[in-house]
Amino acid sequence: MREKILTYIERNSRVNLKDLAILLGTDEVMIANEIAAMEKEGVICGYHTLIDWDKTGSEKVTALIEVKVTPQRGQGFDKIAERIYNYPEVDCVYLISGGFDFMVMIEGKTMRDVAQFVSDKLSPQESVLSTATHFILKKYKDHGSVMVHQSKDERMLITP
């Protein structure tokens, strides 16, 4: 049941509990309890809103930064990650496999903001060897939602 709840609210966290209970064929109290428990256990970490800022006319830039580091003795990558993710302007930090170590996602008001973050805060860190910053030009799909167009029901109204 937990998996079913999570699968549903991952796409629509605003569903009301009564509806969700009907959809999953269970009762509302049980769903409420499960969700509360998962919030407490940290399975559910937050509820966010997916916003296409481009449509609001507000100027925001997002960048993906590849970061190469030297892990510190006894602390591995976690300590370095912490030094990075503690900056509030950092959205995501992932440890990844492949040619570099961290993927850092950052959102700034302007490109200058982002550039400044990289040059002033990220690169000077002792364990950071190199960075490569990629600015996002257009978001096509985010969190499973396609942002470029809305599909329309083109089926005939009635078919046998």
Binding site: Y8, L157, I158, T159, P160
Partner: protein, 392 residues
């Protein structure tokens, strides 16, 4: 000038709800609960295979019975999902949708004067196909109190010396009814005793919400007297690709293939390549869509219960079939008023046979938001009708 037309065709009665269909098509801003096809797009990896096959220039005919890879995958699939075995070499025919398979099977199996048993309410094509094959359709009226399942007694009562074929349309369009293993065993006994054949239309087999679908071909003694019809339209949301298949004993499939060869040549090649991908890598898509339908099904049942509409709980396809007899009007009158007053299109039960009178087919192949909106309107409409009745 001489009459250019065939009497047999002219005499097939047109669908009784043509008028209603025309009415709906004029309403541009209506919202609909009347569609008989999935609301999902065909999963991208399947579409991509179709596109790839075009890019590779696979624009030729395939062999009459279908691509070998596809027939192999169909046999593997039927074995893995429904525990029936078919030989891909001569026991499978790939058709243009399940509909073609129904037509081919009837034409291959029926002689003039043979009787075909057609349980109704059911899909609209069985009766005309039987007539076009020169046979006589005999309707079995399924009952709401049996949850629109076919009982052994109903079957026995309908069989005469001339009965040759039983159409078995489960999971059912329009009722959403299913036949569970015990139901099938009960009728299989009659079928074997009376030595008749079965045309089992299992196009909705993947949309079963109460345990696994059972095919009658998997019961002892039934494989050799069953033509199994299935396809890609409902399970993989591939209606527009027009692809289905028929499986059965090679003697029957050979004759069906003969007609198919002359009438159709072969099913669309692009669709066949896409279907190979669907069967190889589509199980997760099917499970995802089934879960979504099941959620909406629960939602709809709940809404009908709250409205106080009588409705048995359907466990198959993507339809519910509520009863509207309490309002004292025909299905078509109800549907017309509902359309005119609330701009919601539903299909009157009579579209699927006379015994659908007093019922509506409501499809849940729609997004939840769409369903919610339509159900709100339905609630308002039903309350208005009840108030009218009270006033007399």
């Amino acid at each position: 000038m001489r009459n250019p037309l065939s009497d047999a065709v002219v005499n097939i009665k047109p669908s009784g709800i043509r008028k209603f269909f025309d009415l709906v098509s004029e309403m541009e801003d209506a919202i609909s609960l009347g569609v008989g096809e999935p609301d999902f797009d065909t999963p991208w990896h399947i579409r991509d295979e179709g596109i790839y096959s075009l890019e590779k220039g696979r624009t030729f005919y395939t062999s009459n019975a279908g691509l070998k890879e596809l027939k192999v995958e169909i046999c593997k699939y039927l074995n893995r999902r429904y525990h029936v075995e078919y030989n891909f070499q001569n026991e499978v025919l790939v058709t243009v949708g399940g509909s073609e398979g129904i037509d081919m099977a009837m034409r291959a199996m029926l002689n003039p004067g043979d009787e075909v048993l057609i349980p109704q309410p059911s899909y609209v094509s069985y009766e005309p196909c039987a007539v076009l094959a020169g046979a006589k359709p005999v309707i079995i009226e399924l009952k709401a109190e049996n949850e629109f399942r076919l009982t052994a007694q109903e079957l026995r009562d309908a069989i005469t010396d001339k009965t040759k074929l039983l159409v078995l349309p489960f999971p059912n369009n329009p009722t959403g009814a299913i036949m569970e293993k015990a139901d099938l065993e009960a009728i299989a006994e009659v079928i074997i005793e009376k030595d008749i054949f079965v045309l089992s239309d299992e196009i909705y087999s993947e949309l079963s919400y109460n345990g696994e679908h059972v095919t009658i071909a998997s019961l002892p003694g039934m494989w050799e007297r069953t033509i199994l019809i299935n396809g890609f339209s409902k399970a993989y949301a591939m209606t527009g690709w027009r692809l289905g298949y028929a499986c059965g004993p090679k003697e029957i499939i050979a004759q069906m293939t003969k007609i198919h060869q002359f009438a159709i040549m072969c099913a669309p090649t692009t669709s066949q390549y896409a279907a190979v991908e669907a069967l190889r890598n589509g199980d997760e898509d099917v499970a995802r869509m089934r879960e979504a339908y099941n959620q909406r099904r629960r939602f709809l049942m709940h809404a009908f219960r709250e409205m106080g509409l009588e409705c048995f709980e359907p466990f198959g396809a993507f339809y519910v079939f509520p009863c509207i007899k309490e309002f004292g009007m025909t299905s078509e009158e109800f549907a017309e008023r509902f359309l005119k007053e609330e701009k919601v299109a539903v299909v009157p039960g009579t579209a699927f046979g006379d015994c659908g009178e007093g019922f509506l087919r409501i499809s849940y192949a729609y997004s939840l938001d769409n369903l919610k909106l339509a159900l709100e309107k339905m609630k308002r409409f039903v309350e208005r009708l009840r108030a009218e009745q009270k006033r007399g």
